[in-house]
Subunit: 174 residues, 2 copies
Amino acid sequence: MIFSLDKAIELLERTPDVLNTMLLGLSADWTSANEGGDTWSPYDVIGHLIHGEQTDWLPRAEIILSESVDKTFRPFDRFAQFEDSKSKSLAQLLDEFADVRSRNLERLRAFNLTDSDLGKKGIHPVFGEVTLSQLLATWAVHDLNHIAQISRVMAKQYKNEVGPWIEYLRILKA
Amino acid sequence: MIFSLDKAIELLERTPDVLNTMLLGLSADWTSANEGGDTWSPYDVIGHLIHGEQTDWLPRAEIILSESVDKTFRPFDRFAQFEDSKSKSLAQLLDEFADVRSRNLERLRAFNLTDSDLGKKGIHPVFGEVTLSQLLATWAVHDLNHIAQISRVMAKQYKNEVGPWIEYLRILKA
């Protein structure tokens, strides 16, 4: 499948609803537990997604599309949510994510991107040159990555409860 | 986390909405593609979930709770959906899954299960003795397993589109 802006937006615009449907109103036993150590809970993941909307995807697209000579992205802070989310409920975070995602998709649509725009480049702090279409494809895949992660983290809370069926449940071995 | 019927139902009852939100109205490019070979598309997964509702989870719970001497489960057909789903649209399958899941959860609640019921046993054709609570925990984890699978299958359609970011996307390496 070749990158298409419309098809990426199809995924990006439904992620807040998917996360609401998965998590809103669920017991904290499901939403606050992690996979052990310093892994993330579903609650932590929502904070991470909000931080990405604020500092990563759209701001980086703007750098690529700008007239600026230096198109180097600022490094992304993968741990910002532990500070930013403090004292917020999961419901608040889900709302905040839906808001900021919706505003970012409005901004994305307002770019009226052409095929030539999608080939424009920025400089990733680790990878070097990347294109706008790679950034936007990654934005969508990153959503799916975290939906799968949330499913996995919740599934693992029952790792000891499924008995011998653990053999058939790939998610418990990931 | 110890098995609790209420907390398992929390997950089981929202899965149809999660799948609707993830898939309904999405382009077939996302919903009909698989991971190559004889792997499953999101469309195939919904057929598999319907077949599980019809022949696996609730029917096996009924065997465990029955007065019958032989508590051996019938083997589950992991490929039945390729016949059963024929000529049905994804929207039809999603509706069918929501219906049969809702009816099965009504039946589950009507059992009024006690702690002692949850320890009752059936015979799995491969694993031998399993308890009702293991069956019900597996039912919920199995949902999450397939939500993660659907996310992964869709993500992989953009495997070649994300450029160097593939390094950071665990879902593309699974």
